[in-house]
């Protein structure tokens, strides 16, 4: 008799034991894979844990109740087992709710306890819990196994039916159902229904844990399976691939096409200018055309930089920079651009601006210069103003720039397009300069808003944060020319570049600077060995593309001087932030760019 009962017990629990092993596989695979975060994943995880407790408690309670091994403990555990059913459906209600509402990043407490409908479900659950606790299992027959043992079991089933029905009605009310939601709700409706039907027909076989596990596995395949997310990520990577190959080429060629016509016209004008026999007028024509040429090339460089900085901004390059030099550069850049136009340039700088900040100066300069350049281009008569105000938060400063002009203003549609977050490729040529500035700012988490009044002008507001390095204030800003009286005659600068004419020309303007020029790296090494006064090397890294350790090699062989540190500075011929970063990582102390800006060179010479 005993043997038969044991066998009956094992048969009665066959589905539970069989399911337990299958679920073990699911648990392990789920916990050893990269899981998502958020409320959906959390609730699924809770449901898995509850299902595991549901199965284990059923197995243990059945064995404890078998032949009255430990009836009291067995009954407590059986009660607990049935209560896990309530917990399972309670968790599943919120899991289904989160999916139907497509909510993931939300506060768990808020979602499960503070919303109106969550409160209703919590009250219903509480009522069922009280009823479940009060009503006891009646006369458990240990020899006649039944897996639907009296009223507490019916209470759990009633609760399950309520949860399923509420979810189903919520689903019906929902608009725009996805394919997976249809599958999920069908599963959520069918699985408990079949379970209930089978359980009523075969009382001595435990079906519920199997069906609950079946539901969990269904959710795994429909909603939690990493396949779904890997496939999504794959799709995104493929899109990024397409962006890199198609979008970048498209923007580049678009810019090249527009620029080609401008350069062709500049070329034509230059030809006319050199044919002009009047020296003064010829010189003016050449200068005017070259200003336009610089503008065109700066515009192209901005596009280059925009295209090389990735969406994740990893290619931005932050370093300490002098705010006075940056503003000076911007001022003289704008002044040079205004030339003969009847425009007044005004820079109103907050005297509390710190002297030294930390950030991607290149991006800031290019953003502001593009804004100023556009304002000057749009304005024929009147004023272009740059206002800078500072707000301080701990060791950071929020810089608020306003660039305003007195142009004719922009059409409302254009303004809306510029301020819009989504700009498609076809619209870019229409608002190119604004697009570039805005894109630049996004790399440093800045904001860009334009407002316009027809007939009165435009105003661009730019905000971004920077880290403060030196708290000293800039004071009343004056825009001075370059100071040529730097005295470093006791030391020598070595220039290693095969196209150094511009740099030589600029250095010749200084009275007390010694420099020498060599054309290749080998000559440079020989020179250092012979001349101990060389403390600074301005080296073009592209002079030997095969050698990435030029800076480190030079530093290792340069003689040590007391009180003066040796410096190897890279002469770069591109404005791409990523290139700057690369050379600093290769061991260069700093960099200077072609075409040389007198203010940058001045600041560099001041530092060496």
């Amino acid at each position: 008799m005993e043997e038969l009962v044991m066998r009956d017990l094992l048969v009665g629990l066959a589905f539970t034991i069989g399911t337990f092993f299958v679920l073990l596989l699911l648990y392990f695979v789920y916990y050893f894979q990269d899981r998502r975060t958020g409320i959906k994943a959390d609730l699924y995880r809770y449901a898995i844990i509850i299902n595991a407790i549901l199965i284990i408690s059923e197995l243990i309670s059945s064995f404890l109740l078998y032949d009255k091994l430990s009836p009291v403990l067995g009954e407590i555990l059986l009660k607990f087992h049935w209560y896990t059913g309530v917990m399972y459906f309670y968790t599943f209600y919120f899991y289904a709710d989160a999916h139907l509402k497509n909510i993931n990043e939300v506060d768990k407490k808020e979602f499960m306890f503070k919303r109106k409908e969550a409160k209703i479900i919590n009250i219903i659950t509480l009522a069922f819990t009280i009823a479940f606790c009060v009503i006891q299992f009646k006369d458990l027959d240990y020899h006649a196994l039944s897996y639907l043992p009296g009223w507490p079991a019916y209470i759990v089933f009633t609760y399950a039916v309520i949860i399923v029905m509420v979810t189903f009605f919520k689903y019906i009310k929902k608009k725009n159902k996805t394919k997976n939601e249809v599958k999920f709700v069908l599963l959520f409706l069918c699985v408990p229904t079949i379970d209930l039907a089978l359980q009523i027909v075969w009382l001595n076989v435990a079906f519920s844990p199997t069906f609950m596990a079946f539901l969990l596995m269904g959710c795994y395949f429909l909603l939690e399976n990493p396949d779904l997310y890997v496939a999504q990520e794959l799709e995104e990577t493929k899109k990024a691939l397409e962006y890199t190959s198609v979008h970048k080429e498209y923007i580049l060629s678009l810019k090249a096409q527009v620029t080609n016509n401008k350069i062709l016209s500049i070329n034509q004008n230059l030809y006319n200018a050199i044919s002009n026999n009047d020296r003064e007028s010829s010189k003016n024509d050449v200068n005017n055309n070259l200003t336009n040429l610089v503008d065109v090339i700066y515009g192209m460089q901005s596009v280059f930089n925009t295209l090389t900085i990735d969406e994740d901004h990893t290619k931005t390059f932050e370093y300490e920079y002098n705010t006075k030099t940056l503003l000076n550069k911007l001022y003289f850049y704008s002044l040079n651009k205004i030339k003969n136009k009847n425009i007044k340039l005004s820079f109103e700088i907050d005297p509390f601006l710190p002297i030294s900040l930390y950030g991607d100066e290149n991006i800031i300069f290019q953003t502001l210069s593009t804004c100023l350049s556009t304002a000057i281009d749009n304005t024929n008569v009147g004023k272009v103003t740059l206002k800078l105000r500072c707000n301080f938060v701990n060791n950071r400063v929020l810089l608020k720039f306003d660039v305003s002009d007195t142009s004719n203003g922009l059409d409302e549609n254009i303004v809306n397009k510029i301020n819009s977050d989504t700009i498609n490729d076809a619209e870019i040529p229409m608002i190119e300069n604004y697009y570039i500035s805005k894109k630049y700012l996004s790399f440093i988490n800045g904001t860009y808003v334009i407002s316009s009044n027809i007939g009165a002008g435009n105003n661009v507001t730019i905000n971004f944060e920077q880290k403060i390095i030196n708290q000293s204030k800039i004071g009343d800003m004056t825009f001075d020319g370059v100071n040529y009286n730097i005295n470093i005659a006791n030391r020598k600068i070595l220039i290693v570049d095969n196209n150094s004419s511009e740099l030589k020309y600029l250095l010749n303007k200084y009275n007390n600077i010694n420099y020498e020029v060599v054309n290749n790296f080998e000559e440079c090494i020989n020179k250092i060995k012979l001349d101990e006064t060389i403390t600074t090397i301005l080296l073009n890294p592209t002079i030997d593309l095969t050698n990435e350790n030029m800076a480190k090699t030079l530093k290792s062989i340069m003689p040590v001087h007391q009180g003066v540190s040796n410096k190897v500075i890279a002469i770069l011929a591109n404005t791409v932030s990523d290139t700057r970063k690369k050379y600093i990582e290769e061991g260069y102390d700093s960099f200077i760019e072609k075409p040389f800006n007198e203010y940058d060179l001045n600041e560099l010479l001041n530092k060496i």
């Binding site: 589905f15 699911l26 050893f32 794959l234 090339i297 020309y505 591109n574 040389f596």
Partner: protein, 312 residues
């Protein structure tokens, strides 16, 4: 009577339900044509055949439905199907875990050896006596099952050797799944001997193994993951190429501009002679022409790329 029948097939039945689930998921998602995936598909097919033959076998021999005269065919069919399953699983284990990127020739050789061994064992089994235990739990018995046990002993040995010899070729999930199968097998065997547990757990394991394989190796996420890795590498490569191209363009343009500005500075020097002045103007004009050439090259490249795209 039906209850006693249920005793025996309840475990294979529950595993089969979950197996069908996996089967549906496997065929509704993206599949790949790798050798392991192809073998896995055969394994899935043989799992269905084995389980269904088992069910038919029970119904036939137990007289519930009664397939009089067909009992022998079903019983031998079950033995053949199970043996083929074991060979295919051995083939999967060797090809996936024991060989490092196997060649087609290697795979063919292993396949021939395993299936020839299988057929020989089955032929031996055909000449051995088969017993039917009507109205008892064990429907099939007798010496005809000995070759089947030999076949499973071989598969079991390969199964145990995989993590011992080639654990580096198995990832963490595969190792866990491999161990889990072993643990389930041990638990069920121990339970079987200590409690005279009258169930067909052999077929249960046969259904569980493809589920474990799906979770650890054959789910498309593993292969999608590899495809994703490759796409990321392609993206990184293309990104570097594009950025290098842009950097070079930027360098060329600024180099030319630097030269233009140098000549402009000399041109603006009030002390410059008339001849030098004219020379500087020509230098500036020539450098500007070079800049124009750079822009033209960008446009030309795009036109060529577009043509390539159209041809594709």
């Amino acid at each position: 009577m039906f209850s006693r029948l249920f005793d025996s097939i309840s475990y294979p039945l529950v595993a089969f339900v979950f197996f069908i689930y996996i089967l549906l998921m496997y065929f509704s998602n993206k599949r790949y044509n790798t050798y392991s995936n192809k073998i896995y598909r055969v394994l899935l097919l043989l799992t269905i055949t084995t389980t269904l033959t088992l069910f038919f076998d029970f119904f036939g021999t137990d007289g519930v439905v009664g397939f009089k005269g067909l009992e022998g065919i079903f019983a031998r069919g079950y033995i053949l199907s199970t043996m083929l399953w074991a060979s295919t699983y051995s083939y999967y284990l060797i090809a996936t875990f024991m060989l490092n990127n196997p060649t087609q020739k290697q795979l063919r050789t292993i396949k021939i050896i395993l299936y020839t061994f299988n057929i020989l064992l089955f032929l031996v089994s055909c000449f051995l006596e088969l017993e039917y235990h009507h109205r008892t739990i064990y429907a099939i018995g007798g010496k005809a099952l000995i070759p089947l046990y030999v076949e499973f002993a071989v598969t079991g040995t390969i199964y145990l050797l995989c993590p011992i010899l080639k654990y580096k070729q198995m990832n963490r999930t595969q190792l866990i799944m491999h161990s889990m199968i072993l643990i389930i097998l041990i638990i069920m065997t121990v339970f079987r001997f200590f409690t005279e547990w009258d169930v067909n757990y052999f077929t249960y394991i046969i259904c569980i193994i493809p589920i474990a394989l799906y979770f650890s190796s054959e789910s498309s996420s593993y292969l999608l993951g590899k495809e994703l890795e490759e796409s990321k590498k392609d993206f990184e490569k293309l990104n570097v190429e594009e950025n290098t191209k842009i950097n070079n363009l930027s360098t060329t343009l600024n180099d030319h501009l630097s030269t233009v500005l140098y000549h402009q500075r000399i041109l603006n020097d009030p002390n410059i002679s008339e001849t030098d002045f004219n020379n500087e103007k020509i230098h500036i004009y020539n450098e500007t022409k070079n800049i124009y050439e750079v822009f033209k090259s960008i446009e030309k490249k795009q036109i060529l790329d577009n043509e390539k795209e159209v041809r594709k």
